[in-house]
Symmetry: C2
Subunit: 122 residues, 2 copies
């Protein structure tokens, strides 16, 4: 596949759009080990509000990456889990995470170097 074809392919754009939403990949990753309730996800992830978590889960559900299971009764009890399709995305996400683990320090070093040359620039 040529570069142009790759970029023109709406499926590629679609994948980048998926990952370009801040919390999508993080939430998918948090679900990697099994079903989770929203409250557990929020503890596990940290720094995500109830509203944004709900929005993110809805979006992932809309794209067929997670399933929502509602257990009847009070108090409400809901669980989310990855679909088969969602699990296939863990590989690419892991590739990104592994890259970050290996090269993250170099990126931060580059940022510091840029800041040193041009303090205040960015």
């Amino acid at each position: 596949m040529t570069t142009d074809a790759f970029l023109a392919d709406c499926r590629a754009r679609l994948a980048f759009d998926l990952l370009s939403h801040t919390w999508n990949a993080v939430v998918l990753w948090a679900l990697r080990e099994g079903p989770r309730r929203p409250v557990a996800l929020r503890e596990q992830i940290g720094g995500i509000s109830s509203k944004v978590l709900t929005e993110t889960l809805r979006r992932l559900q809309y794209n067929g990456l997670v399933d929502r299971h509602e257990h009847p009764g009070a108090p409400p009890r809901v669980e989310y889990e990855l679909t088969a399709l969602g699990r296939t995305l863990l590989g690419p996400i892991d590739a990104v995470g592994a890259w970050a683990f290996t090269y993250g320090d170099k990126v931060m070093a580059a940022q510091e170097a840029a800041d040193t040359e041009q303090p205040g620039a960015r």
Copy 2:
């Protein structure tokens, strides 16, 4: 590495932040085959404004992923190319792109199914 450690690792957040900027991955990919001038990048990518392209390139430069080469003279002639660090990110990006190529249809099918059930919802 546990899920929690992965999520807490600021390097992982850094990588997701890199990909969460809409055009970063696309521009990096467009540079995969060699140095490019801005005008060529815009033709190759399509749908990106001059301003946003410049911002994206600055951001990538700041993170040490691309180099900017200015050739003196008029008219202005500038080229951007991937750094060694930038090339290491092509692997993970390719993993995402390959996923999109394989599973993109299923995602779009899931979207259509969701739209059919709840027309207007999203």
